[in-house]
Symmetry: C2
Subunit: 314 residues, 2 copies
């Protein structure tokens, strides 16, 4: 489509942004990172990426502070924790110009709708990431497994960008696919995230312990079925058997600690708002209660508050 390589500005140099940004760079794109706490370190030493796709010890990257003037990019990627989303309008405003595409790599519900309220003229895509990657230190990313991105558009206008993005990420060695319904894709992702993120924190267990214990597995299925009820209430019902297959797929997965568990262990704020409270709210607007998800969300809010209050003693 365009002979020039695509340019990306990536908000966040964590497990998600650091990894995908480095893959885009490998694939020949222009990549500009916006970093916060590890800005100086990345500027001096570059990014350190460990990955089955190849290790980089000092990957030199273009890196900016959010206060810097940043050159205009074709695509602005959101790779921050959703706990930072109150800062998004301020962070995005200088980056979003006429023709800029916003690609949101976060997890949760109503993220793109909320962006569209602030940037009604802007094309917005979601990239749902099936990725197991951790930030293990400043500027240091450990990609363990997977990496697929499923693209879905808020509207047709943005959808026209999907083929080019698939090609561009594909050139960086990333598996890609395109999904027809953003809302269905978001709810289907929640069907995994709601049980396994929350229970990994509340029960202090990784995915294999949860999926092999009969009670934790039944509870995961109960939560998934409530997600399915929420999706149906919002007009995007799952196929029959979807949640059952998702449990079975989790059984075949390499065991790992979901990101919420890593956040909890690092005493970072948990992503409760977009992963739990928004789905509850969207279902409730349509008159549907999801009581087990509500119970889990309240437990998470309790442990999150205590966990961060304990920070000093950690």
């Amino acid at each position: 489509m365009t002979p020039k390589p695509l340019s990306f500005t990536i908000l966040g140099t964590g497990a998600l942004g650091g990894f995908y940004g480095s893959r885009l760079l490998m694939g020949g794109s222009v990549v500009r990172f916006v970093a916060h706490s590890d800005l100086e370190l990345i500027r001096e030493q570059g990014l350190r990426i460990e990955s089955p796709l190849g290790n980089q010890h000092h990957l030199a990257v273009e890196v900016y502070s959010s206060a810097d003037p940043i050159p205009a990019s074709d695509v602005v990627c959101i790779a921050l924790k959703t706990t930072q989303n109150h800062r998004l309008p301020e962070l995005l405003k200088p980056l979003v110009r006429e023709g800029t595409l916003i690609l949101n790599l976060q997890n949760g519900l109503t993220l793109e709708e909320e962006l569209a309220e602030t940037f009604p003229q802007t094309r917005i895509l979601a990239g749902l990431c099936f990725l197991c990657s951790n930030k293990v230190g400043p500027g240091h990313i450990r990609h363990l497994d997977y990496g697929r991105i499923s693209f879905a558009a808020l509207d047709e206008r943005a959808g026209a960008w999907i083929p080019l993005l698939m090609e561009t990420f594909g050139a960086g060695g990333i598996e890609v696919e395109s999904l027809p319904s953003l809302r269905l894709a978001r709810w289907q992702k929640l069907a995994w995230n709601i049980p396994f993120n929350g229970l990994s924190v509340l029960l202090g267990a990784e995915t294999d312990a949860l999926v092999t214990d009969p009670d934790a597995r039944r509870l995961a299925k109960q939560l998934m079925d409530e997600v399915a009820a929420g999706a149906a209430a919002c007009g995007v019902p799952f196929d029959a058997g979807f949640t059952g297959k998702l449990i079975e797929a989790t059984e075949r997965m390499t065991t790992y600690a979901p990101s919420m568990r890593l956040d909890y262990l690092a005493k970072r704020e948990l992503e409760i708002e977009y992963l739990y409270l928004r789905p509850l709210r969207e279902a409730a607007k349509r008159g549907v209660q999801l009581p087990a998800i509500e119970a889990i969300a309240r437990q998470l809010s309790f442990v999150d508050r205590r966990n961060r209050a304990d920070q000093g003693h950690g």
Copy 2:
């Protein structure tokens, strides 16, 4: 009614049986304890009771093993953990004769109905204990606060015994009351036990932390309201405002660790069956699901299994 003092055989010398048995003894009743692990110690050194009602360092008591021939008593008190209830028919058979009353001091649902299946001719009372007492060592009970027993009968035949029992426990310094409906009383007790026992284990918190945190409090209320729905399904609806008042009453209580939390910390089996699974089953029989309680019960089953599997590692 009878000039002779009443005689009691008390199954269990824990926080409940040890405390109430000692109070009955103080009040002039004949008391026979059936002990298991601390039989020899109690036989040699007596019971040690610490209580605002008075301390006893070496309270000499009649104590038996369940294999001993035990003299017939007027009342057999069940003060074992419900995790032992599979042993009840065998333990009770030699103790229950014509005219014996069974007084069940345990927490949970369908306890008396189950006893009535094994002992259809026997009069059965429930004594719902509002007690804060811990077993802190072999033969060593620490009573912290409260102690009221609310008596309720399975049928009118057993109900005729209530005044005499009230008088007898009252003579031992125990506050007593009589409740008209056993099933309503059991469900109302669950309205406190289901949230506060389970959450104290899952959230690792005592009652004050739970009731003052906005999310834990909302969750406790959500669970209580599901208990109310279960009670209504079983034909014993709560008064409007009951659960709200119960939350407020908990706020005014001395903070403490509910018994399930103590069991968890001591790596003892948790009383999930009669406190959670039976209420879920009774409601489900009437077509009512209690999804938040179900979620909590499944989490408890998971942590209980892991907790006891870890026993070897301390």
